[in-house]
Each structure stands twice: as structure tokens, then as C-alpha cells.
Amino acid sequence: MKLYDAGKIIPGVIIFLLIFLYPLYSNIGGAAPVPKPLLPKPAVAKQCVLPTAEMKAQHMQLVDNWRNWVVRDGKRIWTSPDGRAFNMSLTNTCMRCHNDKEKFCDQCHNYLGVKPYCWDCHLDPKQKKEAK
Amino acid sequence: MLETALKGSKKYWLWLGFLFGLHVIGVIIYFGWQWPKGLMITGLGRDTSWGFYIAQFTYLVGVAASGVMVVLPYYLHHYKKFGRITVLGEFLAISAVVMCLLFIVVDMGKPDRALNIILHPTPNSILFWDFVVLNGYLMINLVVGWAALSAERKGMPTPRWAKPIIYLSIPWAVSIHTVTAFLYCGLPGRHFWLTAILAPRFLASAFCAGPAILLLVAMIVRKVTKFDAGKEAIQTLGKIITYCIILNVFFLALEFFTAYYSNIPGHMQHLTYLFAGLTDHATGVWHGTYVPWMWASVILMLAAIVVLVPPKWRANEKVLAFGCILVVIGTWIDKGMGMIAGGFTPNPMHQVVEYIPTGKELMISLAVWATGFLILTILFKVATTVKEEVEA
């Protein structure tokens, strides 16, 4: 079988491969290390608002629900399944214990290439300290 | 059918290349400046929060709605003379709606959240309905235009299922511009727009500007392809344009009467700002950048009436084309420049803060227009090639 228009097809296929395989070959050798989020010391907090496994899987939905309950429903106090009451706030609750954004939050987010926009508005603990 | 757009003369490709170049410049400015820095690169401000982008959107919704002016006579009243121009009207409507949607996107503060309109539908908001009717109209015209054209290519009559959709497109076209007018004419604090006649004014302006653009484009198509929409179709279109430009100027005059005879400051101030300039009571500073433009618009529209009314002049296609150019420029200044800025100036506290679009804002706008014309050119290439095939 003869390949017609080979002069157009072969360069076309090569350009296609160059473009679509870019994410693979541009990252060769640069495998990022497994993220090691730094947990707060036991003196600060022993247990997050929910068990660790649940937080790992669902903290995005939890934060999303919190913001709707605070902003749209005007409710600010949330009680965890194990009966502890918390103020629903990223800066003032979550980051009171997880107070280093680079060493905790960014570890996994950077590894996964996720860019949550929370901190476009909400202050991280460093900015909160400077504000005082 | 799209493959017919891939074969064209050198002029065709040069024209597409030129439009695409403008489009790329706009994309670079939008993503290079407006996306990272925000709308501060425009001339918009706290007082004039909508400006050139939304003004272009408003003008183009009118152009899109004007498709009904060729669809209604042909499909509802079997005016055979429009048989060849309807698909051009539908394709013009498609490219106009695409431009409208693009102008909305470039005007939004957070376009990445655009889906919120669908996730949180709010029927009491006119903007929600504008989203619905504009996208619906786009779908209708795409489906109907394409179905009618492919049927014609295969030598078949327009498919039966398309007929009810075509009938639907007639009130739908009126609705898109009525809903757009409703964006403005229900706002309690904006007395320039708070008038029941805003929707009729918009429709009158649309039904002269849109057909005028269609007529000019049809003449260009006749020059560069073998497709002729027909002398009678062009003349009838000319009659429609003449009546509607008279209505448009009449409605404008009505606005002047109500404002100045009632002597109510809230109503007068915006017209005074546009046509004579206004002094801010607190600062004593006079602003009147729009004055020469607005008078030019009125003169152009009156000249268009003078040129288009005498039947013998209108019968001369060169004069008719000239009249259409006057209509397009005059109505564009009226709607695409004066309508929005005039509504916001003076602001609710009667302060005069003038809005002047910036260069980048104008360039992005030009790029959106170029994108629309790019789509228009490709669609027209398809339509004219198919029709030439069929007539051969």
C-alpha cells in the first residue's frame, strides 16, 4: 500500500507527537518528591475537626460546605460528629493549628498541581500575624 | 459542507488571515493584560461600570435580532423574493450572537465562574434570561440555517421538523432584543433608560442597522462571488431600512420631548450630558467628550433618511449602499457609544465622571468584531459556494 501525501502526513504526525507528549518529556528526571505535609505538634492539637482519612478525602467538600453555611445561611458554629464545636473559618480555625501554608497545605497542592484560590482572599497565618 | 470554506481565492485567504491576525492580537491583549490585571486596563470605573464592551454587545444583539426581518416575510408570508437572502440573514445572526457572547465574556470580572449562571439559575434576574434567549437563538439559527442549506444542497425541500423551529425564531428574535432592553429599562436609578420605549427604540434601531449591514454584506458577496441575492430582495431590504431608520430617529425625538418638556432633571441630565455636555454641580467642571459624536450620529441618521426616502435615489444601488453606511455608523454611535455611557453619566449622586475607553479595551473589542467577521466570512463562503453549486 502506498502512503499518499507522505510529505504532509509524516511531518504532521511528528508535530502532533511533539505537542501532545510535551507534558511527559518536559518532566523527565524531575519526579517531584512525595509530599510530606508537616502536621502540627501534639501540644497544639491532637485531632483535626474530622479524622485524618476523612479530611484527606473530603476537606475540599467540607470547606465548601462551611463557606455556604457561614455566608449564605449565617451559621457559624459547627459541631463535629464526635461532639466538638468549631467556628467555621479557614483562617481562624483550620489554620490556627495548621499554621504554615508552605509546609502543610502547599505540600500536597503543589505535588498535584492544584491551585485552590482560597488564599486570594483569605489570609494565611503569616499575613494574619502581620496584620496585628 | 464546511469543506467548501477550505477552498478559496487568494483574496479570501488574505482576508481570513487579516481577521485572524486581529483576533490573535486581541487574545494576546486579553490574556496578557486583562486576565492577569483585571478590568482596570479598561476605562471603566466605579461610576461607569459598564462601557464599550457592553455597548458593543447591545448593538450586536440588535444586529442578530434583525435576522427576523428576512425570515418573517419569507417563511411566514411566502415572500419568494427573499428566498436567497434568508440564509445570509441567519448566518449574519449567528456571527452576531457569537460576538455578543464574546463581549459578555470579556466584560465579566470572573469569567471562570460563568457556569454559576447555570448552577444557580435565578429567574428574577433578567441577565439569566438574556443568557437563555441568546444561547437559544444561537442554537435555533445554527440548526435551521444548516438544515436549510444542506437540504438545498441535496436538492430537497427544507425538512418538515425545521418549520416549527423557524416559526419559533420569529418571536424569539424579537425577544432577544426585548430582554436586552429589559436589562436596562427596569433599573430604578438609571433615568436615561427607565422608559417603556427603550425596547421599541432598541428594536427600531436593530431593524435598520441589522438589515443595513446585511445589505452591504450581500452587495460585497455579489462582487466577490457569483451569488446574487437578487435586485428585488435588495430593494425590499432598502425599504425596510428606510422605514426603520425613520422610526429610530422618531423615537429619539420622543425621548427629547419627554425629557425637556417635563423638565425633570433626572430625565434631562443624561441627554444634556450627551448632546451639550454637563457641569458637575460640586466641582464646577464641565464634561462633554461625547457631544460631537452624538451630533454626528443625529446628522448621519437624518442624512440617511434624506438619502433613502426618495424612491428614485433608493433604486440606485450606489446611493442605497451609501445610505446604509450612514445608517450603520449613525446607529452605532447612538447605541454603541452613547447609550451606555449616557446612562451612567451623571452617576446616582449627580456627579459627572466621564468614561473614555482605553486603547487596550478598544483593541480587544476590535478583535471580537474581527472574530465575528471571521465566522461570518466562513459561513458565507459555505452558503454562497453551496448556492452556486445548486444553481449550476
Binding site: L50, T91, H122 | G38, R46, R113, P188, R190
Partner: protein, 269 residues
């Protein structure tokens, strides 16, 4: 029934789309509530059916009487100071009497005309901004406060066109970058409150976050601390609140009453 290749492909394609997209759509549209047990307000929170404010213009004489209010508000809410007036952000500000009350333009008012009036969002009972918002990012709470969900705002600025009072500001750029460091060095000034981001509209929120802690709005507290005390705040639905008392004792006007917005901010003139 003849089942040809075209029909087979249509059915296969549709089933695949529904199968793959269906689960995803379910999770997107009905995410379910993670860990929802009880939700509550703070014990000290102030509750009301219709929050309102009465501004005694006679107590606002000197520029500082206004400044303590505007500074307190803008500092409590991390409102940036933007040098370019065209794109400034202000939640509370002052303007001439004839600018605040455009229906009362009167050349013979003398001193009143030269005087300034404190202006802010009126938290209307029939707010046009809420009517026009396409995403309910601007909405009316049960306590009457016209509140903004900055997470949902798409920045269409329809609310700014709808507001008859000019109370709304848009973030034409990133407020953290636009803030003039020379004039407003302590920005953000309130570590307990977020800033906003470019592309969203903002306005006075009647200090809902302070009410939730049992505190009065920042402007009210500041004017009392300063000694001028021209602001009354309370529940218009409660006949014994200080606002109702003030309304009984004084003649008050509202801005642009003929527009049917029913503002909750009253002015003693």
C-alpha cells in the same frame, strides 16, 4: 426492526456519555453534605428581623466625625486605599447634601447644602441589586441585610447598574496589589477578615460578622468612642430598639424614596 451501524453508534455513544458523565454530574450537582450535624450561631450573636440604621446628620459636623466612621469600616474589612479615584473602593463615605438627596435639591438650603452626609449601602427592603443578580451572589438575608457571597460573584456588575445609590464598588484589579502602601501601610489591617479578589463587587455588609459576635457595626462603635455618636443601629421590627425610638422622636428622610426600594437607613436632618 433493522438496527444499522449508525443507530448502534448513537446508542453506544449516548450510553457511554451517560455512564461516564452521569456519576460525575451527580457528584457535581448533588455533592451531599460532609459531616453535617448541627449548625448554630454564636451564643452572643445579635439577632434581628430587619436591621436598620438612623444617621443623625446634625451630629456630623467636622471632617473627623466622618473619618472615624469611614476609617473604622475600611480597616475592619480590609478595604484597600486606591489612589486612582476612578476605580476606588468605598463601603462608607461622605458626600454633599445635594448629592446624597438628589430629590431635595434646593438652592436656599444654605448651610445644609454645604454640609456632608454619611452614605453607605441602604440595605433596602426591596433591593434592586438582589433582583438583578443572576447567580444570587447578592442576596437578602432573613435579618434584612443585603449580603454578598464573594465566592459566587461572576463580576457582571449588573448590581452596580441596578443600585440607585452608588453604594457598590468593583475590584477592577487585585486589591492587595492596588492598595497604596504609602497612604495605607497597614493593609490588610484586620487579620480576622479576608480581603476580596479582583473581579468581584463589594459593599457594606452591615458588619454581619460583628453582629454574629454580639458587636455593633464598626462605624457605630467608632462614632460612639469618638464622642460624636450620630449613629443609631438596631432592629426596625422591634418597637423598643434604639432605631425605632429615634424614628419616633425625630423626623427622618431616606434617599430617593420614590424609587420603591424601601431603604433601611434613615437620616435625621
Amino acid at each position: 426492526m433493522a438496527f444499522n451501524r449508525r443507530q448502534f453508534l448513537k446508542v453506544a455513544g449516548l450510553s457511554t456519555a451517560l455512564g461516564l458523565g452521569g456519576k460525575g454530574a451527580f457528584e457535581l450537582l448533588w455533592p451531599g453534605e460532609v459531616g453535617a450535624t448541627e449548625l448554630a450561631t454564636r451564643p452572643r450573636a445579635l439577632h434581628g428581623k430587619r436591621w436598620g440604621m438612623v444617621i443623625d446628620t446634625r451630629k456630623f459636623k467636622k471632617p473627623e466625625d466622618f473619618e472615624v466612621c469611614t476609617k473604622a469600616c475600611h480597616q475592619a474589612h480590609n478595604v484597600p486605599y486606591i489612589k486612582t479615584k476612578r476605580i476606588e473602593i468605598k463601603w462608607i463615605w461622605s458626600a454633599y447634601f445635594f448629592q446624597a438627596f438628589t430629590d431635595q435639591e434646593n438652592a436656599y438650603l444654605g448651610e445644609t447644602n454645604e454640609g456632608q452626609v454619611l452614605l453607605l449601602c441602604n440595605h433596602c427592603d426591596k433591593p434592586p441589586c438582589v433582583r438583578v443578580c443572576p447567580t444570587k451572589a447578592t442576596f437578602q438575608r432573613e435579618d434584612g441585610i443585603v449580603f454578598m457571597d464573594f465566592h459566587r460573584c461572576i463580576g457582571c456588575r449588573f448590581c452596580m447598574a441596578a443600585c440607585p445609590y452608588g453604594s457598590r464598588s468593583f475590584n477592577f484589579g487585585d486589591p492587595r496589589k492596588l492598595n497604596d502602601q504609602a497612604i495605607n501601610p497597614k493593609f490588610p489591617s484586620n487579620g480576622d477578615f479576608p480581603t476580596r479578589t479582583k473581579g468581584v463587587v463589594e459593599k457594606c455588609n452591615f458588619c454581619a460578622e460583628r453582629l454574629a459576635q454580639g458587636l455593633l457595626p464598626a462605624c457605630v462603635e467608632a462614632s460612639r468612642k469618638h464622642g460624636s455618636g450620630g449613629l443609631y443601629f438596631g432592629d426596625l421590627a422591634d418597637p423598643n430598639s434604639e432605631v425605632r425610638r429615634a424614628l419616633r422622636q425625630h423626623f427622618t428622610i431616606r434617599r430617593k424614596p420614590s424609587l420603591g426600594t424601601h431603604p433601611s437607613v434613615f437620616y435625621i436632618v
